[in-house]
């Protein structure tokens, strides 16, 4: 076929970027007759019989006849008709190989996010036989990739990479224009907008231009009928005519190149997405996705978020971070090379025949809880867990399926939570859920938290997450030691266990004979992986100025409200009640004024926010009692300062909304502002010149992305200390806020969210590192 010569790898390997201006290589495509893409596509019955519709690549078989890609195969863009046609022809091999190379280039060109470790890179390059053309034994040489530039070995230096990137990964046509024009051209092509052509060594820029094109991706995907394909091609032809080609030739060189050469596919270097210029849309395919995943993994980038996050934030690791502007990898059994490929089709068949996906409504997991007494504190905390991505994924992935307590018919609160998840995410029912099993299990553990009387939501939250931890420990003990758990063990947190004999054999537990004591910093349970952080308390001796550091684990932060502000707001509310002015109309956000509690209306002069509470939390305070300094060995005054050493993925904040007077405890209903996005950097040890200095400049920036949190749930209380009502306000994945009031779920505006009085706030990491 005429097209196969165009894609021959030899011509590509020989022309490096520096030779891109070589008219010979450029004119090659032009001198060829039109490629098969621009001619009418043969109906499938006339395709040569030897090109099968089954594609085998890397030992996995894909059926190309199917119109839609099975969601089990990959989670990426849908393939377009152009892509499907190419995969049926002989030109698929070069295309796939070029894609492989282009992915590697794209990975390297995003090197700022790579935490380059020479050990991982050298060991991985030995696997990439296709990339090593020109081995050198000199350890100072740098590794760059094939067919667009030279290949060398060993350590990667960011500055060299940067130089190569700016040299090679720029638009060819912009360079031409620049070289050939006398006056200054303001065409700038940053490499972020480079489209690497997958069929020739061209790199093009893609500046946006106003177009009249509106290709409908649904049409492209769902037809194999050649009439429709012809129509689509004609439609594209018509639309091509609409754009004045002068504009394209100046600005959007990737598009003009594709039109000139009929090279349809290109890879966007900044986010490794494949683009089809015929459809003007991102496209994908399981085969390509598999290559992409393999390449990313080969370069040592680990997609295991939890593992990566906890390792890298301690800055002692050489693990590489996932490049965040790339599409996330969704490894399934079918694109994971480590899984046994021979079973894939059997697995697919099993899944397709015996299961069905839940309805869309069920997949949102939205359902209310019926109030069964005074259970609003239970229902709000449970809602915040149900819509917490980490907890939700933990349960939906079936991590609590084989609970040992259930097998022995013993009480397990985690099992009843698992049942709630199962129900919420698969059932189509929209009426409230009755918490029968949960209340019974809770009653068996801690009677006063079983919904009979009103309790504090934060206390209940601590109880539930502790239960998750305990059941994890029990199950991991049962799995590691083949030991019969004594039936005396129940779900209560102060368990006196009878597993004295085998407690010392646990590898990651620090046990004593009375209680199972696990070091929370190493614990593998979902509670600690999600919520546990580290607090560093530094005590400075006033005499010798030496600082003692202690590190404690923390599951949440309890923030006090400064007494100055409390008094200020009390005066304000008193003033208001005496002045009898109606300030509700004037201020932008207000809180309802209640006679029994202290309230304040929000106005710009007197706003108090979570930031202020956090500042108060981390300011040094002078200790009342004298402190035994271990350096100067005297009893001295000291000051103590709390900073955060390690931040958890989900940060829980509790506002201490109670004020203890000599006679009673009063609730503070003051409105406290909270931001939707919270940057925790200044409360961490990196911002305070404590013991840790960053090892290199990248380290702070590395951590920077991990220090921004976004609010996803708040729990509000209305009422007094003794009685009241809780509601939860939670954000869904579309960014819409929902109010959960027992069994009633309503949409709520952002303004209303910001104006509510939060008691518990849940912030989740904004960006996966």
């Amino acid at each position: 076929m005429s097209t196969s010569r165009k894609f021959s790898s030899s011509s590509l390997a020989s022309s490096s970027k520096a030779k891109a201006n070589n008219p010979k290589s450029k004119s090659k495509p032009r001198s060829k007759p039109k490629s098969e893409f621009s001619t009418p596509i043969l109906p499938s019955s006339q395709l040569p019989l030897h090109s099968p519709s089954l594609l085998v690549y890397d030992n996995v078989t894909y059926n190309l006849d199917r119109e839609e890609i099975d969601p089990l195969d990959n989670i990426t863009f849908q393939p377009c008709t152009h892509l499907k046609k190419v995969l049926l022809t002989d030109s698929k091999e070069p295309l796939l190989n070029n894609y492989k190379s282009a992915i590697k280039i794209s990975l390297l060109s995003n090197f700022q996010r790579l935490n380059l470790n020479s050990n991982t890179i050298t060991s991985n390059t030995n696997k990439n036989k296709s990339t090593t053309n020109n081995k050198s034994k000199n350890n100072n040489f740098f590794l760059i990739l094939n067919d667009k530039s030279k290949i060398l070995k060993n350590t990667l230096n960011p500055s060299k990479l940067y130089r190569y990137r700016s040299k090679y990964l720029r638009c060819n046509d912009c360079q031409l224009l620049h070289n050939h024009s006398d006056h200054n051209s303001s065409n700038i092509s940053l490499n972020n907008l480079s489209f690497i052509c997958l069929q020739c060594p061209n790199v093009g820029c893609y500046h946006s231009i106003p177009t009249n094109i509106d290709p409908n991706p649904d049409n492209n995907n769902n037809n194999n009928n050649n009439n429709n394909i012809n129509n689509n091609n004609n439609k594209d032809q018509d639309n091509y005519i609409n754009i004045p080609s002068n504009d394209i030739n100046k600005v959007n060189h990737a598009l003009s190149h594709s039109r000139k050469t009929s090279h349809f596919f290109a890879l966007q270097s900044s986010n490794s997405n494949m683009f089809c210029f015929g459809c003007l849309n991102y496209v994908g395919h399981p085969i390509f996705e598999k290559i992409r995943i393999n390449s990313i993994k080969q370069w040592g980038i680990n997609n295991d978020f939890s593992l990566n996050f906890f390792n890298s934030i301690n800055s002692n690791t050489s693990k590489v971070n996932l490049i965040s502007n790339f599409l996330p990898i969704y490894p399934t059994a079918f694109n994971d090379t480590s899984s046994d490929t021979s079973n894939i089709n059997d697995l697919k068949k099993l899944i397709n025949e015996n299961s069905r996906p839940p309805s869309f409504k069920a997949s949102t997991g939205l359902r209310g809880f019926i109030n069964m007494g005074s259970t609003c504190f239970i229902s709000t905390i449970l809602q915040s867990l149900i819509h917490n991505p980490f907890i939700r994924n933990y349960f939906l992935l079936g991590n609590h399926q084989n609970c040992i307590m259930k097998k022995k018919n013993l009480n397990c609160i985690t099992c009843s939570i698992d049942e709630i998840f199962k129900n919420f995410f698969t059932s189509n029912s929209t009426t409230g859920f009755c918490l029968t099993n949960f209340l019974v299990s809770a009653w068996n553990s801690k009677k006063n938290l079983a919904g009979y009387s009103e309790q504090d939501a934060h206390e209940f939250w601590q109880f539930v997450v502790d239960e998750l931890h305990i059941s994890h420990i029990k199950n991991s003990i049962a799995n590691k030691n083949i030991l019969n758990i004594n039936d005396d063990i129940n779900g209560s947190s102060n368990t006196n266990t009878n597993t004295n004999t085998n407690t010392n054999t646990n590898t990651n537990t620090n046990t004593n004979t009375n209680n199972i004591n696990i070091n929370p910093l190493n614990c593998d349970c979902i509670t600690h992986k999600t919520f546990c952080g580290e607090l560093q308390s530094s005590i400075t001796c006033s005499e010798c100025k030496k600082i003692t550091y202690t590190i404690d684990p923390m599951l949440d932060l309890s923030l006090e409200i400064s007494s100055k502000f409390i008094n200020q707001s009390k005066k304000q509310s008193k003033k208001q009640s005496t002045n009898n002015t109606n300030t509700l109309n004037i201020t932008t956000t207000t809180t309802p004024i209640s006679t029994s509690t202290f309230t304040s209306t929000f106005n710009n002069n007197n706003s108090y926010s979570i930031i202020d509470c956090l500042d108060l939390f981390t300011t040094p305070e002078n200790l009342d009692v004298k402190y035994d300094c271990s350096y100067c060995l005297k009893k001295t005054f000291a000051s103590k300062k709390l900073t955060i050493k390690k931040l958890p993925p989900v940060l829980t904040l509790q506002l201490k909304r109670f004020e203890h007077t000599r006679t009673s405890t009063a609730k503070l209903d003051i409105h406290i502002n909270f931001p939707f996005i919270l940057n925790m950097k200044k409360y961490t040890i990196f911002n305070n010149n404590c013991n840790s200095k960053p090892k290199h400049d990248n380290e702070i920036d590395e951590h920077f992305g991990k220090l921004t949190y976004e609010l996803f749930a708040i729990i509000c209380h209305s009422g007094s200390v003794n009685t009241g009502h809780y509601i939860a306000i939670i954000k869904n994945s579309n960014g819409e806020w929902l109010k959960f009031d027992d069994s009633l779920i309503t949409l709520i505006s952002q303004k209303d969210v910001l104006s509510s009085n939060a008691y518990l706030l849940f912030y989740i990491i904004h960006q996966f590192p």
Binding site: F77, S181, S270, N325, C434, T436, L439, A450
Partner: protein
């Protein structure tokens, strides 16, 4: 027609390219999500209060939530807790949902009322 290269035009171009990078990234992710959802569930359709409980095919599609006052997102009105009934796993009798918590306390506890504990000392087996 070439633009004059000034600092202003240069910075505007740089800003535009930076923004384009961000938009590309966001667009790609959103397009992917929407494609996957559509492949599974179809497009978003308008659904009022009446459409939630209808035929099976309707449940498979994505329905917009209702945001009328007084009704929840599914279009239901607020129901009183008294209208729900549950069966107690211990005694097997039917109870009003709103009183279930207190029933558990009596049914499982075996006494008239439990020990009053205001701030949760943990209570082991009574």
């Amino acid at each position: 027609m070439e633009q004059q290269l000034t600092i202003g035009s240069l910075s505007a171009e740089i800003l535009e390219e930076l923004l384009q990078t961000v938009t590309h990234e966001l667009t790609a992710q959103l397009v992917l999500q929407e494609q996957l959802l559509r492949a599974q569930y179809g497009r978003v359709e308008a659904g009022g209060p009446g459409s939630t409980g209808s035929t099976g095919s309707r449940l498979e599609t994505r329905i917009r939530w209702s945001s009328t006052r007084g009704r929840d997102i599914f279009g239901h009105e607020k129901t009183t807790d008294a209208s729900h009934f549950v069966y107690c796993p211990n005694c097997g009798r039917k109870h009003s949902a709103g009183r279930f918590a207190s029933h558990i306390d009596r049914c499982f506890g075996g006494k008239g009322s439990r020990k009053a504990a205001s701030n949760g000392g943990s209570s082991s087996n009574e």
